[in-house]
């Protein structure tokens, strides 16, 4: 009997261990990236690194402000466009489509999520970039091209997670609203959607994370010019793209600076999650 009790306790401890693995992993990642990326941040100087306008690694001028602007604008654009389409697709699947249609469409959206980034990148470079160049002028590799590609890439994440959130809304909500004389669309947008708010916000956070972190596709379509874009048609260079592109040939301080960009990206992600937690939970348990 005693043995059984110890075993139960042991299994519980084992579950706990698995649960704190994530925390350990995060600390390890933080530790190792900080170890590589913090020293160059100090030797370059936080202010000139974060606010510097020029990125000339071979002249040891490391300013990533244009990259921060690029990452933020591209992500914002993608989340507006991809978020809109993704959310409406989710609403359609969860509330409007027949169960049969939903069963047919859902795997297609999962398939879209499984297509490798490089394929999206090439698709963008060969079809979308020349189209933008011919239709709107400019080089084609641009903020606009990046936003379009990112929107498509984050769409499946947004759609499937939002759909799950919408389906979790109790049926009584809808029935109550309809019984009160609201139309199906009013019920959908005024009752169901607000009720699924938290899950949808979580979907958007994941979407933002993916857009900020996407590399292999973006590097092919963004143009990689380290300059603050003045219009949608200007080339941009997001942070991830710089790391991926320059890692293979860089050496010395240049390579360390790339790790420092990694640290800034990490801070971005942590700050994003912190602020969302703050918004969702109010000030309660932070």
């Amino acid at each position: 009997m005693k043995l059984k009790k110890y075993m139960t306790l042991g299994v519980e401890k084992f579950f706990w261990l698995c649960a704190i693995l994530s925390l350990l992993a995060l600390l390890l990642i933080l530790g190792f990236l900080l170890k590589e990326g913090l020293p160059p941040l100090f030797s370059i100087g936080f202010k000139s690194f974060l606010l510097g306008q020029r990125w000339k690694p071979l002249e040891e001028t490391f300013g990533i402000f244009p990259m921060i602007v690029a990452t933020v604008t591209a992500t914002a654009g993608a989340i507006l466009l991809g978020g809109f389409i993704g959310l409406f697709t989710a609403l359609f699947l969860a509330e409007v489509a027949s169960p049969k249609a939903a069963r047919l469409i859902r795997p297609l959206i999962q398939l879209l999520a499984g297509i490798p980034s490089v394929v999206f990148g090439f698709f963008g470079l060969v079809l979308i970039v020349p189209w933008i160049a011919n239709r709107f002028g400019g080089p084609g590799n641009s903020l606009l091209a990046t936003i379009l590609i990112l929107s498509v890439m984050i769409l499946p994440t947004l759609a499937s997670i939002s759909e799950t959130a919408l389906r979790a809304v109790p049926q009584e909500y809808r029935e109550g609203s309809l019984a009160l004389g609201a139309s199906p669309m009013e019920t959908l947008f005024k009752v169901t959607l607000p009720a699924a708010k938290n899950g949808i916000i979580a979907a958007f956070v994941l979407g933002i994370g993916r857009a900020v972190g996407e590399t292999m596709a973006v590097v092919l379509v963004c143009g990689n010019r380290p300059q603050i874009p003045q219009s949608l048609l200007d080339p941009i260079r997001p942070m991830t793209s710089t790391i991926a592109m320059e890692m293979s040939y860089s050496s010395g301080l240049h390579q360390e600076a790339l790790f420092a960009i990694g640290v800034i990206l990490l801070i971005f992600i942590v700050a994003l999650n912190l602020s969302v937690n703050y918004i969702l939970r109010g000030n309660k348990d932070l």
Partner: protein, 278 residues
């Protein structure tokens, strides 16, 4: 009248957004298959890659991809499920729990290129695991852990409490209840999480490239390096070695993901039917 117009516009938007999503998928699939399928044949699928001997097939990449996927799932699926069990069945609200949840959320948001750099500096260099299947699998395991935990936890929470109470009332202890009653009812949800993870593993480039390496060989042990289809595709695309082969590799990759999706979906449906007794 105005109400009616809004109604129609909203309906139109819902339909058109969904159709747009599907259209984009088919546009990309069409583009890849149109250029890639003509280059796929049995020889391409069943020979390994040794260009010096005139062999340019993807057999070893297919096996490498499946091996990496298998090892990653072997590590992360149990860890993810047990973590989810702890979070949903045992943990009591506390500051530490919020910290755990927060770290899971952060892990989910870390860019894959940073996973690659971390995997390289930690597993490959610091732990001296070299470029190997194991380095790659451990890195990817951390990367897909949040997805597994979150999805499994959600499914566990959707298992009605009456199941647990019934089992406990019949005298089964907590663990027995968990493994005999709660987990089996959560299998379809867990499978969905596994499907999504498989897609991420197979399609991943940056995190694999810096950890599992690029040697085009069938890995005979976890200490050997291998090249996945996605990394091979990246090489072909990057150096422009052979456009046709690149698209063929992309097409195989997408077909592989589709096949796995279908298989897992079928399995999930099978369990669903069993569970609902229909």
């Amino acid at each position: 009248m105005k109400r009616k117009v809004t109604e129609i516009i909203l309906r139109f938007l819902l339909w058109s957004c969904t159709l747009l999503t599907i259209a984009i998928l088919f546009l990309i699939l069409g583009y890849v298959f149109f250029q890639g399928l003509p280059h796929i044949n049995l020889r391409f699928l069943t020979t390994s890659y040794a260009p010096g001997l005139g062999l340019e097939g993807v057999w070893s990449m297919i096996i490498g991809t499946l091996a990496l996927m298998g090892l990653t799932l072997l590590v992360s699926v149990p860890a993810g499920i047990f973590a989810a069990i702890y979070l949903s069945e045992y943990a009591k609200p506390s500051r530490f729990l919020s910290l755990l949840r927060f770290s899971i959320e952060c892990l989910a948001g870390i860019p894959s290129i940073l996973y690659g750099l971390f995997g390289f500096t930690f597993f490959v260099v610091f732990l001296k695991l070299q470029f190997s299947l194991l380095s790659g699998a451990l890195t990817l395991a951390i990367m897909i852990l949040p997805l597994l935990i979150r999805t499994t936890e959600e499914t566990l929470q959707s298992v009605p409490d009456s199941f647990r109470e019934g089992s406990l009332a019949l005298g089964a202890n907590r663990l027995v209840t968990l493994f005999r009653i709660v987990l089996p009812s959560a299998i379809p949800g867990i499978l969905t999480a596994v499907i999504l993870s498989m897609g991420r593993i197979i399609g991943e480039t940056a995190a694999v490239y810096y950890t599992a390496g690029t040697v085009p060989q069938v890995p005979l042990s976890t200490a050997e390096s291998t090249r996945t289809l996605a990394v091979h595709l990246y090489f072909l695309a990057k150096e422009g070695l052979d456009q046709g082969q690149a698209f063929a590799a992309a097409a195989i990759l997408i077909l592989l993901i589709a096949a796995l999706n279908l298989a897992a979906q079928g399995t999930a449906n099978y369990f669903n039917r069993r569970l609902t007794g229909k």
